[in-house]
Symmetry: C2
DNA sequence: CTCCTTGTGTTGTATATACAACGATGGCGC
DNA sequence: GCGCCATCGTTGTATATACAACACAAGGAG
């Protein structure tokens, strides 16, 4: 039932089918589940993702982490600064030019281990919320996008 | 090939399978396509979504728009303020208590019509990027979440 | 060696998001 | 009427994100 107030049919679609609106809704909802689970630890899911990537692949250049996560370099820069202040990350020696090599500190590793069970709970909660079908689909969609971004 | 630096297997999963990371990646990537298409008009996809909802259902209470879009009331409040300054939205008479009833102005309607073709292009571009399978899946996943949120 | 270019990070500015605290409005019991 | 209370919106503060401009380092052209 198109509204009398939207003579332009595209405007109706903008309010119902917009993929940006949909992905943003998903992102907000899903993120809040993880952040709520992690709040007692004082870490956000974004920081935890960075920490996990550096733990797995470090010492690694800051920009490489950003590229892997498809994050803007400025977002990464400010996040890294906060995480260094928390003592979870530190700069490793080496790195060509202005590169900043990152590695996880002992306290960062402890944080990862403390966060792991809470992350698992959040992951399970979101999987249940979405159902297996849509959870798998999100992985597929994200993989597709990630691969396209990697081509460039 | 688990890293020697991640003795905790959950940490490996955190860096590869985290649904928050995935949805945030999707949201950032998809949003940027729309915002790039809309930049010449000086409107963001978030604002356009609000405008479309108010156009279709207005006059409507600000909080109702927030609920429909599952947005935080404070995010909505500040967005509405900017959009009022742009002259796209205005407060309609009526509304119980402190409710703010919103409606789209003439200039808001013109913005919607100018933005419509660009929105369609962006929507097509993202659909092509994802492929029909994953684009449909995003709708399914978002619908599922939206319905769960509506139950509460 | 000097200049230029390129790669990498940082900083400025604006919007988006979340949570908590506050403020305002009107209803309701009495 | 008065005070309590529930609802709704705004404001404070912090993080997340994006884009542009800048800063810095290294290497190459000449």
């Amino acid at each position: 039932m198109p509204s009398k107030r939207s003579p332009n049919p595209t405007v109706d679609r903008m309010g119902r089918e917009c993929l940006a609106m949909r992905t943003r809704l998903l992102s907000r909802t899903v993120t809040s589940v993880y952040d709520e689970a992690l709040r007692p630890l004082g870490v956000t899911i974004g920081q935890l993702n960075i920490l996990a990537v550096v733990a797995k692949r470090g010492p690694i250049a800051q920009g490489e982490v950003a590229q892997f996560l498809s994050m803007e370099k400025s977002t990464m820069s400010r996040n890294v600064e906060r995480m260094r202040q928390h003592g979870w990350l530190r700069q490793a020696p080496g790195g060509a030019g202005r590169q900043v090599l990152l590695e996880v500190s002992g306290s960062g590793r402890r944080m990862l281990n403390r966060a792991a069970p809470r992350w698992s709970e959040a992951q399970a909660e979101v999987s249940a919320l979405l159902g297996k079908r849509w959870a798998d689909a999100l992985h597929g969609a994200a993989d597709t996008i990630w691969n396209k971004l990697a081509e460039k």
